[in-house]
Symmetry: C2
Subunit: 315 residues, 2 copies
């Protein structure tokens, strides 16, 4: 099959081996896949991943032993657990120590014609969610994960740091819960597009003022910027792994009694509900759709900070 | 008056200027003062502090315009706020942006014959708390601060990382609330003394297992050790500013969705209640009492990792 494959470098292949169905897994034909920041990092060596990257998709089940999934249009949770550990038994497959993660860890991903996932990871879609909205389910679910971790009070001020893909998803998720986040970024044209979606934006957020600061910069110095802007006893939520290895001054965390909360993947259900109810329409963030054969150009376009979301359409 | 004074280096002086009473402040004769890790850091240049260090004390009011404080035996909250900002008006003087901090920031401290503090910072002591227990009020209050910040479930496993002064205070505070923390450290003789106080101890804590890990190591790599030992979705509490500037991998915080909580000074009331009710007796941790004239030797003894608490007795 056609696929984008990373092995030291990213390349387009026509002859990538077809997938063999595994017990308890279904084969899905991919209709649309989204490129996110993690994919760009993987194309630079992150996670030492080899194989087909990509974890955002909408597809149609073409081979399954589960009658409830036959021919269904689906999205899929990306963490596949062992099913036997304490995390899996407690419903937290996302934290299974033996998990594979679609296109990130030990499992080929979505930048191909087909993928496989365990049946229990697949979520049939209602007709009310079109393909080009459904493809945002995974990043939206990651944004909604914040609400599963902490309660944000209605009187608390919220700053979303970063005007990229991640910041947009987080701001839209907050907005759909009737919060009024302020989005701070450096790209006037993107801030303008976010304003057009009804979001509050700024090019320079004041220091030491915000009860909750959500770092969506995807930059190593994002944490520092968040620390500067959070109020004493406030909360910083880290939505990106980009802060790896940065030199940080945790003394300020102690002195100002800041809470720092790591936040990663979320359950799909809240995102699907919001999309089905049209409380969120992410489609204005799409900046282009490419074939797999144009995948390298698609990655370059996605890496351009002027753009939000680039999609891949295998056929 | 006699005092230990830090100005590039620590020295003992007989001729330090007497204190002038300020409006709304009382003068306190110091009966006992305790040396803590922050004092050792200050003697190495931390906070660029100049003047008399020290913030743990029990004393007697010798000059005051407040009849409720006259001749009273007291301890004192160490943060003195402006009284006008949002933090002060909300009762959080500890986070006033214009605060002075006894022996740490803009205010002479406890390693002298006398100190001054605002009247509202002073807490008269019940007779049931002897001087050598009362002198532990401030570090115990800092330990109890954890309970003002988060709720720890009864079924959660708690690891206290570090067998020093700070670890002992935190473990005793948890023990007084009927939690059963495990204290991990590298000093067999100190672990033995903590065991004798009824605490669970270990020389090597397993990785990835604890719901709550409290970093009391006072070491720059304490955070790394805490990250290794906390379970996915667990909480790390940072009780020391020593992690300043360490190179950290925050990617693990995001991937494992860890909550990191900075924790500093606490209100005195919970600590005074525990001491008055004899739920905590910290006196077995005292490893020596010195005069101010022997202050430099006292600092060296306090810096010896075999010791817990060294006290200074001005007269």
């Amino acid at each position: 099959m056609q696929a984008l494959v990373f092995d030291k470098r990213l390349e387009y292949r026509r002859d990538y081996p077809d997938l063999a169905p595994r017990a308890g897994e279904s084969i899905v034909r991919i209709l649309l896949a989204g490129i996110c920041g993690t994919d760009l990092e993987i194309s630079r060596g992150y996670m030492a991943f080899r194989g087909v990257p990509g974890h955002e998709f909408v597809g149609r089940v073409v081979e399954t032993s589960n009658p409830d999934l036959r021919h269904k249009r689906v999205v899929g949770e990306i963490n596949a657990g062992c099913g036997r550990c304490v995390a899996c038994l407690g419903g937290l497959t996302r934290h299974c120590p033996n998990r594979t993660v679609l296109g990130i860890l030990g499992r080929d991903g979505t930048f191909a014609e087909f993928l496989t996932l365990p049946d229990e990871n697949l979520r049939p879609l209602p007709d009310s969610i079109p393909d080009d909205a459904a493809v945002f389910t995974e990043p939206l679910a990651a944004a909604f994960e914040i609400f599963e971790q902490i309660h944000i009070g209605r009187n608390q001020s919220i700053l979303v740091l970063g005007d990229g893909r991640l910041g947009a998803m987080v701001a839209l998720a907050l907005d759909s819960h009737s919060y009024e986040p302020l989005v701070a970024g450096h790209h006037p044209e993107k801030l303008e597009r976010l304003s057009a979606l009804g979001l509050r934006t700024t090019k320079s957020a004041p220091e030491g003022k915000f009860d909750v600061v959500i770092d969506c910069t995807g930059q190593a110095d994002g944490f520092r910027g968040a620390l500067e802007r959070v109020a004493p006893r406030g909360t910083i939520i880290l939505k990106s792994t980009a802060a790896a290895g940065a030199e940080l001054n945790l003394a300020a965390v102690v002195i100002n009694e800041i809470a720092v909360l790591g936040s990663r993947c979320g359950r799909f259900a809240p995102a699907l509900e919001a999309l089905a109810a049209k409380r969120i329409d992410p489609r204005p963030l799409i900046d282009g759709t490419r074939s797999l054969a144009d995948g390298l150009e698609a990655f370059a376009t996605a890496a351009n900070p002027s753009n939000f979301k680039i999609l891949l359409k295998p056929a």
